[in-house]
Symmetry: C2
Subunit: 341 residues, 2 copies
Amino acid sequence: MPKVALAFDLGGTELRGALVESGGRILASASAPTLALAGSEAVIGQIVGLAGELRAMRPDAEVAGIGLGAPGPLDPKAGIVIGPPTLAGWHEVPLMDILISRFGLPVRLENDANAAALGELRFGAGRGAESLVFVTVSTGIGGGVIAEGRLYHGRRGLAAEIGHMTITGEGERCFCGAVGCFEAVASGTALGRRATALSASGDGSPMRRLSANGDVTARHVVEAARAGDHAALALIEDEAQWLGIGFTNLLHLYSPDVLVMGGGLANGFDLLIGTLRRTVSRRAMPAYRDVPIMPAQLGGNAGLVGAASLILWEGEPGAPIAIVQDEDASENPVSGEAHHG
Amino acid sequence: MPKVALAFDLGGTELRGALVESGGRILASASAPTLALAGSEAVIGQIVGLAGELRAMRPDAEVAGIGLGAPGPLDPKAGIVIGPPTLAGWHEVPLMDILISRFGLPVRLENDANAAALGELRFGAGRGAESLVFVTVSTGIGGGVIAEGRLYHGRRGLAAEIGHMTITGEGERCFCGAVGCFEAVASGTALGRRATALSASGDGSPMRRLSANGDVTARHVVEAARAGDHAALALIEDEAQWLGIGFTNLLHLYSPDVLVMGGGLANGFDLLIGTLRRTVSRRAMPAYRDVPIMPAQLGGNAGLVGAASLILWEGEPGAPIAIVQDEDASENPVSGEAHHG
């Protein structure tokens, strides 16, 4: 009878659930499109439904508790989803208390980027590190910070809002209203926007062919660069420089043992890392230049296994985390199975 | 027989020592010009000398241990002064072990900005807070961060190098080699440089009269602004905007309960705070806008009493810190006495 955590990754598009063992192994998983416009009660109903499906898939598993990652802003100690832009009608929802009363099990909530940071520290690219900065670069830029084995929360769990760190005075205004946010110049969205502005529908360029003459996205830029397209390679070069400026700040501010990059743009990590490293070496003070910068290893599962580990490590959110070298994890980190949904 | 810590604040210019009670009260103090060019052995000799003077001033005091703040980079766990630019010939000096063998007492070392942050949290502007960001704005910009009652150290104690956070693409090159460092555009040095460039020796302007027609410093700008000089007030306005951009980043990245500004430029805090707050309100995301921004209360003593509290709280560097409302401290925070040296 394996002991597992019931883990959820609540996104604006997809709700994913899994049964996860203490070593990070996923025994069963299921998912559903999030009813993001239907309010919190509907989504909580989906969580209850998925939990039932998962338990039916592995009736032999003993569920120790529920770990859930959800979009910020989110207060992990109070267990409250404060008001994520991607979930309509969610305002100060006491999700932890609601789930405790529905399931009668221990429940831990965490910001999704923090959950992914924990996942990468415990089962992924950051194994063995005490402190880690996780940066997710995709539509926006988000982050999670672990220092001396503890998630860095700050007031109301609002720390590490790294996408809205000002790094320049130029560029388009960010949706938050400021100019020069890291996210506004270095997200996948910003890269796609630059690529779209640089080309025209029907111009025959590789990026436009890949986008079927629609707007070019970061994925198209990476694909075209991989095929050797010069315009795409120049865009990747710019992107790597912006990432290098932001990452240098994160090294100076948090001094992690390792910086891990995830999110959609991590698919182009091998193309970005050369210029990115050179930018960091040029801008960082000497003591910070040798910090490893690595691609995430767990992809979309980082948040799920990180959320599960909120339960299986049995710490309170914010409590010290033992850095345990788990045998399962080192032999077989996060082998997904039984996908469903 | 009062129980005290022997505290030192080792600066590039001055070495200060004090006997400090657990409530932050300074029972005796002494200082000497640092033999900054003479190497570590000479300075350690000065520390031993000052310790003797202080003990002679209060022979009734029982010394529980030694807390020392020194310039970074500094590894507080290993107790090593790595190589501060202001102390010639110091390279990886194991100061903690050296002082333990000289005195036979417990010794704790801390980065000077971290020691000041602890001082302000325990005895100054941050009393009652769990998390605090301390920013010192003077020749350069330095910082100390406390999260959930613990100093934020990161790898080798190198976190919170906030002066070298890039916030813009403009301005003069920083001494570190990068362009756009917070320190390069917002330090007291940067303010003085702008004031000097804006005026000319002998032009009869209030700032030049205050500087006796030499280079204008931040102190002259603050003085002239206080007297109503328009040029100085415009410079203060610019300075407050740069500080506002940097402080907004710190709120987003660390999410403290309170942000405390110290250093020489804190003398102009009342002139700066209006525009500074408006800049933060315009740039910060809504959840961060109401964080108090306060002037430091302890001035030059913050580092001394903070270093003393490394001993009197009896925690290891990095260990949890009990937030104790000490009666002495609340009645009579840091009443200096018996100055000497």
